[in-house]
Protein backbone atom coordinates (compact mmCIF):
# COMPACT_ATOMS: atom_id res chain seq x y z
CA UNK A 1 0.00 0.00 0.00
CA UNK A 2 2.63 2.48 1.06
CA UNK A 3 4.69 4.07 -1.64
CA UNK A 4 8.08 5.53 -1.14
CA UNK A 5 8.46 9.24 -0.62
CA UNK A 6 9.84 9.85 -4.10
CA UNK A 7 7.32 7.64 -5.77
CA UNK A 8 4.50 9.53 -4.12
CA UNK A 9 5.83 12.86 -5.27
CA UNK A 10 5.99 11.46 -8.72
CA UNK A 11 2.26 10.64 -8.61
CA UNK A 12 1.19 14.22 -9.16
CA UNK A 13 0.32 15.11 -12.73
CA UNK A 14 2.86 17.53 -14.17
CA UNK A 15 0.53 20.53 -14.05
CA UNK A 16 -0.04 20.28 -10.27
CA UNK A 17 2.51 22.14 -8.18
CA UNK A 18 2.68 20.39 -4.81
CA UNK A 19 3.33 23.62 -2.93
CA UNK A 20 -0.09 24.90 -3.96
CA UNK A 21 -1.52 22.37 -1.51
CA UNK A 22 -0.22 24.41 1.43
CA UNK A 23 -2.08 27.48 0.21
CA UNK A 24 -5.31 25.54 0.13
CA UNK A 25 -4.82 24.15 3.61
CA UNK A 26 -3.40 27.20 5.29
CA UNK A 27 -6.50 29.34 6.01
CA UNK A 28 -8.30 26.51 7.80
CA UNK A 29 -5.17 25.23 9.44
CA UNK A 30 -4.44 28.60 11.04
CA UNK A 31 -7.86 28.69 12.71
CA UNK A 32 -7.56 25.02 13.62
CA UNK A 33 -4.12 25.52 15.13
CA UNK A 34 -5.25 28.53 17.15
CA UNK A 35 -8.46 27.08 18.54
CA UNK A 36 -7.77 23.35 18.74
CA UNK A 37 -4.07 22.46 18.62
CA UNK A 38 -2.75 25.30 20.73
CA UNK A 39 -5.42 24.78 23.43
CA UNK A 40 -4.59 21.06 23.59
CA UNK A 41 -0.95 21.89 24.26
CA UNK A 42 -2.00 24.43 26.85
CA UNK A 43 -4.27 21.98 28.65
CA UNK A 44 -1.23 19.77 29.09
CA UNK A 45 0.80 22.76 30.30
CA UNK A 46 -1.83 24.11 32.71
CA UNK A 47 -2.18 20.68 34.28
CA UNK A 48 1.26 21.23 35.81
CA UNK A 49 0.23 24.49 37.45
CA UNK A 50 -1.72 25.55 40.48
CA UNK A 51 -3.95 28.07 38.79
CA UNK A 52 -7.34 29.59 39.54
CA UNK A 53 -7.90 30.77 35.98
CA UNK A 54 -7.47 34.38 37.06
CA UNK A 55 -4.34 34.58 39.22
CA UNK A 56 -0.73 34.03 38.14
CA UNK A 57 -0.16 30.31 37.72
CA UNK A 58 2.37 28.60 40.01
CA UNK A 59 4.33 25.65 38.66
CA UNK A 60 3.77 22.59 40.88
CA UNK A 61 5.03 19.72 38.71
CA UNK A 62 2.87 16.64 38.96
CA UNK A 63 1.08 17.62 42.15
CA UNK A 64 -2.27 17.88 40.36
CA UNK A 65 -1.91 14.31 39.16
CA UNK A 66 -0.91 13.15 42.62
CA UNK A 67 -4.01 14.78 44.01
CA UNK A 68 -6.07 13.24 41.23
CA UNK A 69 -4.82 9.79 42.15
CA UNK A 70 -6.20 10.22 45.68
CA UNK A 71 -9.36 12.07 44.64
CA UNK A 72 -12.30 9.84 45.51
CA UNK A 73 -14.71 11.93 43.46
CA UNK A 74 -12.58 11.45 40.36
CA UNK A 75 -12.50 7.68 40.75
CA UNK A 76 -16.20 7.65 41.45
CA UNK A 77 -16.81 9.69 38.28
CA UNK A 78 -14.63 7.33 36.24
CA UNK A 79 -16.54 4.37 37.66
CA UNK A 80 -19.78 5.98 36.57
CA UNK A 81 -18.34 6.55 33.10
CA UNK A 82 -17.42 2.87 33.00
CA UNK A 83 -20.93 2.00 34.14
CA UNK A 84 -22.30 4.13 31.33
CA UNK A 85 -20.14 2.27 28.80
CA UNK A 86 -22.40 -0.68 29.54
CA UNK A 87 -25.54 1.34 28.76
CA UNK A 88 -24.24 3.63 26.01
CA UNK A 89 -22.10 1.07 24.25
CA UNK A 90 -22.38 -2.62 25.15
CA UNK A 91 -26.16 -2.90 25.47
CA UNK A 92 -26.94 -0.81 22.36
CA UNK A 93 -24.53 -2.95 20.34
CA UNK A 94 -26.15 -6.14 21.61
CA UNK A 95 -29.64 -4.83 20.98
CA UNK A 96 -28.59 -3.58 17.54
CA UNK A 97 -27.12 -6.96 16.67
CA UNK A 98 -30.24 -8.73 17.84
CA UNK A 99 -32.56 -6.57 15.77
CA UNK A 100 -30.27 -6.77 12.76
CA UNK A 101 -30.11 -10.54 12.93
CA UNK A 102 -33.89 -10.63 12.84
CA UNK A 103 -33.92 -8.52 9.75
CA UNK A 104 -31.32 -10.47 7.84
CA UNK A 105 -33.52 -13.57 7.94
CA UNK A 106 -35.61 -13.02 4.90
CA UNK A 107 -36.28 -9.90 2.87
CA UNK A 108 -38.45 -7.29 4.50
CA UNK A 109 -40.12 -4.26 3.00
CA UNK A 110 -40.10 -0.79 4.48
CA UNK A 111 -36.66 -1.03 6.08
CA UNK A 112 -35.94 2.59 5.11
CA UNK A 113 -38.72 3.83 7.37
CA UNK A 114 -37.40 1.92 10.37
CA UNK A 115 -33.89 3.08 9.65
CA UNK A 116 -34.89 6.74 9.51
CA UNK A 117 -37.14 6.52 12.56
CA UNK A 118 -34.71 4.66 14.78
CA UNK A 119 -32.02 7.19 14.01
CA UNK A 120 -33.99 10.23 15.18
CA UNK A 121 -32.69 10.26 18.81
CA UNK A 122 -29.19 10.65 17.37
CA UNK A 123 -29.87 13.95 15.66
CA UNK A 124 -31.80 15.56 18.51
CA UNK A 125 -30.32 18.05 20.92
CA UNK A 126 -29.38 16.11 24.04
CA UNK A 127 -30.93 18.89 26.10
CA UNK A 128 -34.31 18.19 24.54
CA UNK A 129 -33.76 14.46 25.05
CA UNK A 130 -32.88 15.13 28.69
CA UNK A 131 -35.93 17.27 29.31
CA UNK A 132 -38.24 14.73 27.74
CA UNK A 133 -36.85 11.93 29.88
CA UNK A 134 -36.94 14.06 33.01
CA UNK A 135 -40.68 14.25 32.51
CA UNK A 136 -41.00 10.57 31.67
CA UNK A 137 -39.13 9.63 34.85
CA UNK A 138 -40.88 12.23 37.05
CA UNK A 139 -42.67 11.01 40.16
CA UNK A 140 -46.06 11.75 38.61
CA UNK A 141 -44.77 11.01 35.10
CA UNK A 142 -45.90 8.44 32.51
CA UNK A 143 -43.50 5.70 33.60
CA UNK A 144 -44.77 5.66 37.16
CA UNK A 145 -48.36 6.00 35.95
CA UNK A 146 -47.82 2.96 33.79
CA UNK A 147 -46.44 1.02 36.76
CA UNK A 148 -49.53 1.88 38.81
CA UNK A 149 -51.75 0.87 35.90
CA UNK A 150 -50.22 -2.60 35.71
CA UNK A 151 -50.32 -3.00 39.48
CA UNK A 152 -46.66 -2.43 40.35
CA UNK A 153 -47.22 0.41 42.83
CA UNK A 154 -44.27 -0.75 44.91
CA UNK A 155 -41.91 0.04 42.02
CA UNK A 156 -43.03 3.66 41.82
CA UNK A 157 -40.23 6.03 42.74
CA UNK A 158 -38.73 9.36 41.68
CA UNK A 159 -36.34 7.53 39.34
CA UNK A 160 -33.81 10.27 38.74
CA UNK A 161 -33.74 11.24 42.41
CA UNK A 162 -33.37 7.70 43.71
CA UNK A 163 -29.96 6.86 45.12
CA UNK A 164 -30.00 3.31 43.79
CA UNK A 165 -31.77 3.74 40.47
CA UNK A 166 -30.72 7.19 39.20
CA UNK A 167 -27.69 5.69 37.42
CA UNK A 168 -29.84 3.09 35.72
CA UNK A 169 -32.32 5.76 34.69
CA UNK A 170 -29.60 7.89 33.08
CA UNK A 171 -28.17 4.73 31.50
CA UNK A 172 -31.56 3.87 30.04
CA UNK A 173 -31.66 7.24 28.30
CA UNK A 174 -28.20 6.53 26.91
CA UNK A 175 -29.35 3.15 25.63
CA UNK A 176 -32.36 4.82 24.02
CA UNK A 177 -30.15 7.38 22.27
CA UNK A 178 -27.51 4.96 21.04
CA UNK A 179 -29.24 1.77 19.88
CA UNK A 180 -30.53 3.40 16.71
CA UNK A 181 -27.02 4.36 15.65
CA UNK A 182 -25.78 0.82 16.22
CA UNK A 183 -28.68 -0.66 14.35
CA UNK A 184 -28.29 1.60 11.34
CA UNK A 185 -24.61 0.74 11.19
CA UNK A 186 -25.29 -2.99 11.42
CA UNK A 187 -28.07 -2.98 8.85
CA UNK A 188 -25.79 -1.20 6.40
CA UNK A 189 -23.10 -3.77 7.12
CA UNK A 190 -25.43 -6.74 6.84
CA UNK A 191 -26.62 -5.59 3.44
CA UNK A 192 -23.03 -5.82 2.23
CA UNK A 193 -22.70 -9.45 3.31
CA UNK A 194 -22.69 -11.79 0.37
CA UNK A 195 -26.13 -13.34 -0.06
CA UNK A 196 -24.48 -16.64 -1.08
CA UNK A 197 -23.12 -17.07 2.43
CA UNK A 198 -26.66 -17.11 3.81
CA UNK A 199 -27.79 -19.52 1.14
CA UNK A 200 -24.85 -21.78 1.91
CA UNK A 201 -25.66 -21.64 5.61
CA UNK A 202 -29.28 -22.54 4.95
CA UNK A 203 -28.34 -25.40 2.65
CA UNK A 204 -26.05 -26.65 5.40
CA UNK A 205 -29.06 -26.59 7.70
CA UNK A 206 -27.93 -23.79 10.01
CA UNK A 207 -30.45 -22.55 12.54
CA UNK A 208 -30.99 -18.87 13.28
CA UNK A 209 -28.30 -18.77 15.96
CA UNK A 210 -25.71 -20.58 13.85
CA UNK A 211 -26.44 -18.35 10.90
CA UNK A 212 -25.99 -15.30 13.08
CA UNK A 213 -22.86 -16.68 14.74
CA UNK A 214 -21.09 -17.80 11.57
CA UNK A 215 -22.32 -15.42 8.88
CA UNK A 216 -23.80 -12.20 10.25
CA UNK A 217 -21.43 -11.64 13.16
CA UNK A 218 -18.15 -12.13 11.25
CA UNK A 219 -19.52 -9.97 8.45
CA UNK A 220 -20.24 -7.14 10.86
CA UNK A 221 -16.82 -7.03 12.53
CA UNK A 222 -15.98 -3.63 11.08
CA UNK A 223 -19.32 -2.10 11.99
CA UNK A 224 -19.15 -3.41 15.54
CA UNK A 225 -15.76 -1.77 16.01
CA UNK A 226 -16.99 1.53 14.61
CA UNK A 227 -20.12 1.39 16.75
CA UNK A 228 -17.98 0.65 19.77
CA UNK A 229 -15.66 3.60 19.21
CA UNK A 230 -18.52 6.04 18.63
CA UNK A 231 -20.60 4.93 21.61
CA UNK A 232 -17.62 4.46 23.91
CA UNK A 233 -16.55 8.05 23.28
CA UNK A 234 -20.12 9.16 23.95
CA UNK A 235 -20.13 7.28 27.27
CA UNK A 236 -16.85 8.81 28.41
CA UNK A 237 -17.73 12.32 27.33
CA UNK A 238 -21.33 12.40 28.50
CA UNK A 239 -22.07 15.86 29.87
CA UNK A 240 -25.27 17.44 28.51
CA UNK A 241 -27.49 14.50 29.40
CA UNK A 242 -26.30 14.32 33.00
CA UNK A 243 -26.37 18.10 33.30
CA UNK A 244 -30.03 18.14 32.35
CA UNK A 245 -31.30 14.83 33.72
CA UNK A 246 -29.91 14.93 37.24
CA UNK A 247 -28.85 18.55 37.47
CA UNK A 248 -25.14 17.80 37.39
CA UNK A 249 -24.76 14.41 38.97
CA UNK A 250 -27.33 14.02 41.72
CA UNK A 251 -28.75 12.64 43.90
CA UNK A 252 -25.66 13.15 46.02
CA UNK A 253 -22.88 12.05 43.71
CA UNK A 254 -24.71 9.05 42.30
CA UNK A 255 -24.56 10.08 38.63
CA UNK A 256 -21.53 12.37 38.63
CA UNK A 257 -19.25 11.85 35.60
CA UNK A 258 -15.77 13.09 34.70
CA UNK A 259 -16.83 15.89 32.38
CA UNK A 260 -19.14 17.30 35.06
CA UNK A 261 -16.24 17.26 37.53
CA UNK A 262 -14.00 19.06 35.03
CA UNK A 263 -16.66 21.72 34.54
CA UNK A 264 -17.14 22.17 38.27
CA UNK A 265 -13.44 22.30 39.07
CA UNK A 266 -12.47 24.67 36.28
CA UNK A 267 -15.44 27.00 36.09
CA UNK A 268 -17.19 26.85 39.43
CA UNK A 269 -14.41 26.21 41.94
CA UNK A 270 -11.75 28.17 40.03
CA UNK A 271 -9.29 25.28 39.89
CA UNK A 272 -8.34 25.56 36.22
CA UNK A 273 -5.03 23.73 36.69
CA UNK A 274 -6.60 20.77 38.43
CA UNK A 275 -9.44 20.69 35.91
CA UNK A 276 -6.87 20.61 33.09
CA UNK A 277 -5.22 17.56 34.64
CA UNK A 278 -8.59 15.79 34.72
CA UNK A 279 -9.33 16.82 31.13
CA UNK A 280 -5.98 15.49 29.99
CA UNK A 281 -6.48 12.12 31.67
CA UNK A 282 -9.93 11.80 30.12
CA UNK A 283 -8.62 12.74 26.67
CA UNK A 284 -5.76 10.27 26.91
CA UNK A 285 -8.18 7.47 27.78
CA UNK A 286 -10.47 8.36 24.89
CA UNK A 287 -7.68 8.74 22.34
CA UNK A 288 -5.91 5.55 23.43
CA UNK A 289 -9.01 3.40 23.19
CA UNK A 290 -10.10 4.94 19.87
CA UNK A 291 -6.62 4.51 18.41
CA UNK A 292 -6.38 0.87 19.52
CA UNK A 293 -9.78 0.00 18.11
CA UNK A 294 -9.12 1.79 14.84
CA UNK A 295 -5.83 -0.05 14.61
CA UNK A 296 -7.74 -3.31 14.97
CA UNK A 297 -10.09 -2.15 12.26
CA UNK A 298 -7.28 -1.26 9.90
CA UNK A 299 -5.63 -4.63 10.47
CA UNK A 300 -8.85 -6.45 9.62
CA UNK A 301 -9.24 -4.47 6.45
CA UNK A 302 -5.93 -5.82 5.22
CA UNK A 303 -6.98 -9.40 5.91
CA UNK A 304 -9.07 -11.48 3.54
CA UNK A 305 -12.60 -10.19 3.02
CA UNK A 306 -14.62 -12.53 5.25
Amino acid sequence: MKKSFWKRRFDNPPYIRPHHAYLFILPGLIIYAMFVLWPIINTARYSLYDWTGFSDPTFIGFDNYRELWHDEDFWLALQHNAFFVLFFSILPIMLGLFLTSLMTRGRLRGMAIFRSGLFIPQVMSSVVVGIIWRWLFAYDGPINEFLIMVGLESWVRPWLGDFTYARYAVGTVGLWVQYGLCMVLFIAGAQAINEDLYDAARVAGANAWQEFRHVTLPGLNQQILVAFVLTFIAALRVFDLVFVLTRSGGPGKETIVTSILIYQQAFQRNRAGYGSAMALVLSVIIITVSAVVMRLQARQEEGPAI
Partner: protein
Amino acid sequence: MQDTAYFQRKARNALTYALLIIFLIAAIMPFIGIFLTAFKTTSELIDGPFALPETWRWENFTNAWEGAQFGRYFRSSVIVVVPVVVIATLLSTMSGYAFGMIRFWGDNVLLLLIVLGLMVPSEAVIIPLWQVMGSLGLRNTYWALILPQVALSFAFGTFWMRAHFKGMPRELVDAAVVDGCNTWQVLWRVLFPLSRPALLSLVVLLFMWTWNEFFLVLVMVTGDLRTLPVGLALLRGRYAADVPVMAAAATIVSLPVIVLYVFFQRHFIRGMVSGAIKE
Protein backbone atom coordinates in the same frame (compact mmCIF):
# COMPACT_ATOMS: atom_id res chain seq x y z
CA MET B 1 -43.32 -29.64 4.21
CA GLN B 2 -43.19 -26.58 2.05
CA ASP B 3 -46.28 -25.19 3.73
CA THR B 4 -44.67 -25.37 7.14
CA ALA B 5 -41.58 -23.54 5.91
CA TYR B 6 -43.74 -20.89 4.28
CA PHE B 7 -45.81 -20.50 7.41
CA GLN B 8 -42.72 -20.28 9.57
CA ARG B 9 -41.25 -17.57 7.41
CA LYS B 10 -44.46 -15.54 7.51
CA ALA B 11 -44.66 -15.88 11.28
CA ARG B 12 -41.07 -14.85 11.68
CA ASN B 13 -41.54 -11.81 9.46
CA ALA B 14 -44.59 -10.79 11.46
CA LEU B 15 -42.65 -11.13 14.70
CA THR B 16 -39.77 -9.11 13.26
CA TYR B 17 -42.11 -6.34 12.17
CA ALA B 18 -43.78 -6.31 15.57
CA LEU B 19 -40.45 -5.92 17.35
CA LEU B 20 -39.26 -3.26 14.95
CA ILE B 21 -42.48 -1.31 15.35
CA ILE B 22 -42.12 -1.43 19.13
CA PHE B 23 -38.62 0.01 18.89
CA LEU B 24 -39.70 2.55 16.29
CA ILE B 25 -42.46 3.73 18.61
CA ALA B 26 -40.01 3.91 21.50
CA ALA B 27 -37.74 6.10 19.37
CA ILE B 28 -40.27 8.64 18.16
CA MET B 29 -43.08 8.66 20.77
CA PRO B 30 -41.33 11.03 23.19
CA PHE B 31 -41.03 13.67 20.48
CA ILE B 32 -44.66 13.31 19.50
CA GLY B 33 -45.57 13.70 23.18
CA ILE B 34 -43.57 16.91 23.45
CA PHE B 35 -45.10 18.29 20.28
CA LEU B 36 -48.67 17.60 21.42
CA THR B 37 -47.98 18.95 24.90
CA ALA B 38 -46.72 22.21 23.40
CA PHE B 39 -50.29 23.00 22.29
CA LYS B 40 -52.08 22.18 25.55
CA THR B 41 -53.18 23.99 28.67
CA THR B 42 -51.68 22.97 31.99
CA SER B 43 -54.97 21.40 33.06
CA GLU B 44 -55.01 19.15 29.99
CA LEU B 45 -51.75 17.52 31.08
CA ILE B 46 -53.65 15.09 33.27
CA ASP B 47 -54.93 13.27 30.16
CA GLY B 48 -51.41 12.05 29.45
CA PRO B 49 -48.86 13.24 26.90
CA PHE B 50 -50.43 11.58 23.87
CA ALA B 51 -53.98 12.91 24.20
CA LEU B 52 -54.79 15.47 21.54
CA PRO B 53 -55.16 19.05 22.77
CA GLU B 54 -58.74 20.36 22.82
CA THR B 55 -57.75 23.46 20.94
CA TRP B 56 -54.30 23.96 19.41
CA ARG B 57 -52.99 26.77 21.59
CA TRP B 58 -50.25 28.85 19.99
CA GLU B 59 -49.95 30.99 23.14
CA ASN B 60 -47.43 28.54 24.56
CA PHE B 61 -45.14 29.32 21.67
CA THR B 62 -45.65 33.07 22.09
CA ASN B 63 -44.87 32.71 25.78
CA ALA B 64 -41.73 30.71 25.07
CA TRP B 65 -40.64 33.05 22.28
CA GLU B 66 -41.21 36.32 24.11
CA GLY B 67 -41.74 35.63 27.81
CA ALA B 68 -39.04 32.99 28.21
CA GLN B 69 -36.84 34.80 25.66
CA PHE B 70 -36.46 31.94 23.23
CA GLY B 71 -36.72 34.41 20.38
CA ARG B 72 -33.41 35.87 21.52
CA TYR B 73 -31.80 32.46 21.92
CA PHE B 74 -33.03 31.58 18.45
CA ARG B 75 -31.38 34.72 17.12
CA SER B 76 -28.10 33.74 18.82
CA SER B 77 -28.30 30.25 17.37
CA VAL B 78 -28.73 31.61 13.85
CA ILE B 79 -25.95 34.19 14.28
CA VAL B 80 -23.57 31.42 15.36
CA VAL B 81 -24.63 28.55 13.13
CA VAL B 82 -24.69 30.33 9.76
CA PRO B 83 -21.09 31.62 9.76
CA VAL B 84 -19.76 28.39 11.28
CA VAL B 85 -21.35 26.25 8.59
CA VAL B 86 -20.44 28.55 5.69
CA ILE B 87 -16.84 29.26 6.72
CA ALA B 88 -16.07 25.70 7.82
CA THR B 89 -17.52 24.25 4.61
CA LEU B 90 -15.46 26.55 2.37
CA LEU B 91 -12.23 26.05 4.33
CA SER B 92 -12.60 22.29 4.48
CA THR B 93 -13.47 22.05 0.80
CA MET B 94 -10.16 23.73 0.05
CA SER B 95 -8.10 21.59 2.39
CA GLY B 96 -9.99 18.42 1.48
CA TYR B 97 -9.13 19.13 -2.15
CA ALA B 98 -5.44 19.53 -1.29
CA PHE B 99 -5.35 16.33 0.78
CA GLY B 100 -7.44 14.33 -1.65
CA MET B 101 -5.94 15.37 -4.97
CA ILE B 102 -2.40 16.56 -4.36
CA ARG B 103 0.59 14.72 -2.94
CA PHE B 104 2.92 16.98 -1.03
CA TRP B 105 5.64 16.88 1.56
CA GLY B 106 4.23 16.35 5.05
CA ASP B 107 0.72 15.49 3.95
CA ASN B 108 0.37 12.49 6.25
CA VAL B 109 1.61 14.34 9.30
CA LEU B 110 -0.71 17.28 8.69
CA LEU B 111 -3.64 14.97 8.14
CA LEU B 112 -2.89 13.16 11.39
CA LEU B 113 -2.86 16.46 13.26
CA ILE B 114 -6.26 17.27 11.82
CA VAL B 115 -7.68 13.83 12.57
CA LEU B 116 -6.67 14.44 16.19
CA GLY B 117 -9.37 17.09 16.22
CA LEU B 118 -11.95 14.38 15.52
CA MET B 119 -11.03 12.48 18.63
CA VAL B 120 -10.28 15.01 21.35
CA PRO B 121 -13.24 15.82 23.56
CA SER B 122 -14.12 19.50 23.96
CA GLU B 123 -13.05 19.14 27.60
CA ALA B 124 -9.47 18.94 26.33
CA VAL B 125 -9.59 22.42 24.82
CA ILE B 126 -12.19 24.27 26.84
CA ILE B 127 -10.04 25.63 29.68
CA PRO B 128 -7.32 27.23 27.50
CA LEU B 129 -10.01 28.45 25.09
CA TRP B 130 -11.79 30.18 27.93
CA GLN B 131 -8.51 31.74 28.97
CA VAL B 132 -7.56 32.84 25.43
CA MET B 133 -10.98 34.32 24.74
CA GLY B 134 -10.71 36.22 28.01
CA SER B 135 -7.36 37.73 27.14
CA LEU B 136 -8.54 38.63 23.63
CA GLY B 137 -11.60 40.28 25.18
CA LEU B 138 -13.85 37.93 23.20
CA ARG B 139 -15.41 36.03 26.07
CA ASN B 140 -19.14 36.58 26.09
CA THR B 141 -19.20 37.51 22.40
CA TYR B 142 -20.35 35.44 19.44
CA TRP B 143 -16.72 35.15 18.34
CA ALA B 144 -16.06 32.88 21.30
CA LEU B 145 -18.64 30.49 19.88
CA ILE B 146 -17.93 30.88 16.17
CA LEU B 147 -14.13 30.57 16.00
CA PRO B 148 -13.70 27.35 18.03
CA GLN B 149 -16.58 25.69 16.22
CA VAL B 150 -15.14 26.63 12.82
CA ALA B 151 -11.89 25.01 13.98
CA LEU B 152 -13.54 21.81 15.22
CA SER B 153 -15.77 21.58 12.13
CA PHE B 154 -12.71 22.06 9.94
CA ALA B 155 -11.31 18.78 11.28
CA PHE B 156 -14.36 16.77 10.30
CA GLY B 157 -14.88 18.73 7.09
CA THR B 158 -11.35 18.16 5.87
CA PHE B 159 -11.64 14.47 6.58
CA TRP B 160 -14.99 14.27 4.81
CA MET B 161 -14.09 16.29 1.73
CA ARG B 162 -10.74 14.53 1.38
CA ALA B 163 -12.51 11.18 1.14
CA HIS B 164 -14.89 12.69 -1.38
CA PHE B 165 -12.22 14.22 -3.62
CA LYS B 166 -10.15 11.05 -3.49
CA GLY B 167 -13.07 9.24 -5.04
CA MET B 168 -13.48 11.70 -7.90
CA PRO B 169 -12.11 10.73 -11.30
CA ARG B 170 -8.78 12.30 -12.19
CA GLU B 171 -9.87 12.70 -15.79
CA LEU B 172 -12.07 15.61 -14.71
CA VAL B 173 -9.02 17.51 -13.56
CA ASP B 174 -7.05 16.56 -16.65
CA ALA B 175 -9.81 17.80 -18.93
CA ALA B 176 -10.15 21.05 -17.01
CA VAL B 177 -6.43 21.66 -17.22
CA VAL B 178 -6.47 21.09 -20.97
CA ASP B 179 -9.18 23.74 -21.10
CA GLY B 180 -6.79 26.12 -19.38
CA CYS B 181 -7.90 26.03 -15.71
CA ASN B 182 -5.32 26.50 -12.99
CA THR B 183 -5.38 24.58 -9.68
CA TRP B 184 -7.68 27.12 -8.07
CA GLN B 185 -10.14 27.16 -10.97
CA VAL B 186 -10.16 23.37 -11.17
CA LEU B 187 -11.54 23.30 -7.64
CA TRP B 188 -14.16 26.05 -7.81
CA ARG B 189 -15.28 25.82 -11.44
CA VAL B 190 -15.11 22.10 -12.06
CA LEU B 191 -15.00 19.99 -8.90
CA PHE B 192 -17.09 22.17 -6.55
CA PRO B 193 -20.24 22.13 -8.70
CA LEU B 194 -19.90 18.36 -9.07
CA SER B 195 -19.59 17.86 -5.32
CA ARG B 196 -23.14 18.80 -4.39
CA PRO B 197 -24.07 15.56 -2.56
CA ALA B 198 -20.93 15.48 -0.42
CA LEU B 199 -21.24 19.19 0.34
CA LEU B 200 -24.89 18.82 1.25
CA SER B 201 -24.05 16.04 3.72
CA LEU B 202 -21.33 18.16 5.22
CA VAL B 203 -23.59 21.19 5.55
CA VAL B 204 -26.45 19.35 7.26
CA LEU B 205 -24.07 17.59 9.67
CA LEU B 206 -22.25 20.79 10.60
CA PHE B 207 -25.58 22.52 10.99
CA MET B 208 -26.84 19.85 13.39
CA TRP B 209 -23.65 19.70 15.46
CA THR B 210 -23.39 23.46 15.77
CA TRP B 211 -27.08 23.92 16.46
CA ASN B 212 -26.97 21.30 19.22
CA GLU B 213 -23.63 22.36 20.73
CA PHE B 214 -23.94 22.72 24.49
CA PHE B 215 -20.70 22.63 26.47
CA LEU B 216 -18.85 25.42 24.66
CA VAL B 217 -21.86 27.73 24.79
CA LEU B 218 -22.45 27.00 28.45
CA VAL B 219 -18.89 27.97 29.34
CA MET B 220 -18.28 30.91 27.00
CA VAL B 221 -21.36 33.13 27.10
CA THR B 222 -24.18 34.27 29.37
CA GLY B 223 -27.53 35.97 28.99
CA ASP B 224 -28.97 36.71 25.56
CA LEU B 225 -25.91 35.36 23.79
CA ARG B 226 -26.83 31.83 24.78
CA THR B 227 -28.00 29.58 21.99
CA LEU B 228 -31.22 27.59 22.16
CA PRO B 229 -30.07 24.35 23.88
CA VAL B 230 -28.31 26.20 26.68
CA GLY B 231 -31.22 28.61 27.04
CA LEU B 232 -33.51 25.61 27.43
CA ALA B 233 -31.30 23.78 29.90
CA LEU B 234 -30.83 26.84 32.10
CA LEU B 235 -34.41 28.07 31.97
CA ARG B 236 -35.51 28.94 35.51
CA GLY B 237 -38.39 30.68 37.16
CA ARG B 238 -42.02 30.92 36.18
CA TYR B 239 -41.79 29.32 32.75
CA ALA B 240 -39.59 26.43 33.85
CA ALA B 241 -42.50 25.09 35.88
CA ASP B 242 -44.95 25.63 33.02
CA VAL B 243 -44.83 22.30 31.24
CA PRO B 244 -46.62 23.34 28.01
CA VAL B 245 -44.35 26.38 27.62
CA MET B 246 -41.29 24.19 28.21
CA ALA B 247 -42.63 21.75 25.62
CA ALA B 248 -43.10 24.63 23.17
CA ALA B 249 -39.53 25.75 23.86
CA ALA B 250 -38.22 22.21 23.32
CA THR B 251 -40.14 22.12 20.03
CA ILE B 252 -38.53 25.41 18.95
CA VAL B 253 -35.09 23.96 19.77
CA SER B 254 -35.63 20.72 17.87
CA LEU B 255 -37.76 21.76 14.92
CA PRO B 256 -35.04 23.13 12.61
CA VAL B 257 -33.00 19.94 12.91
CA ILE B 258 -36.08 17.73 12.55
CA VAL B 259 -37.15 19.55 9.38
CA LEU B 260 -33.66 19.16 7.91
CA TYR B 261 -33.64 15.52 8.93
CA VAL B 262 -36.96 14.84 7.23
CA PHE B 263 -35.58 16.15 3.95
CA PHE B 264 -32.02 14.91 4.15
CA GLN B 265 -32.13 11.76 6.29
CA ARG B 266 -29.81 9.86 4.05
CA HIS B 267 -27.20 12.59 4.30
CA PHE B 268 -27.38 12.58 8.09
CA ILE B 269 -27.13 8.82 8.37
CA ARG B 270 -24.39 8.47 5.78
CA GLY B 271 -22.31 11.16 7.42
CA MET B 272 -22.69 9.89 10.95
CA VAL B 273 -22.08 6.21 10.31
CA SER B 274 -19.37 6.55 7.71
CA GLY B 275 -16.84 5.65 10.34
CA ALA B 276 -15.61 9.16 10.93
CA ILE B 277 -15.16 9.63 14.63
CA LYS B 278 -16.85 12.79 15.69
CA GLU B 279 -19.54 13.55 18.19
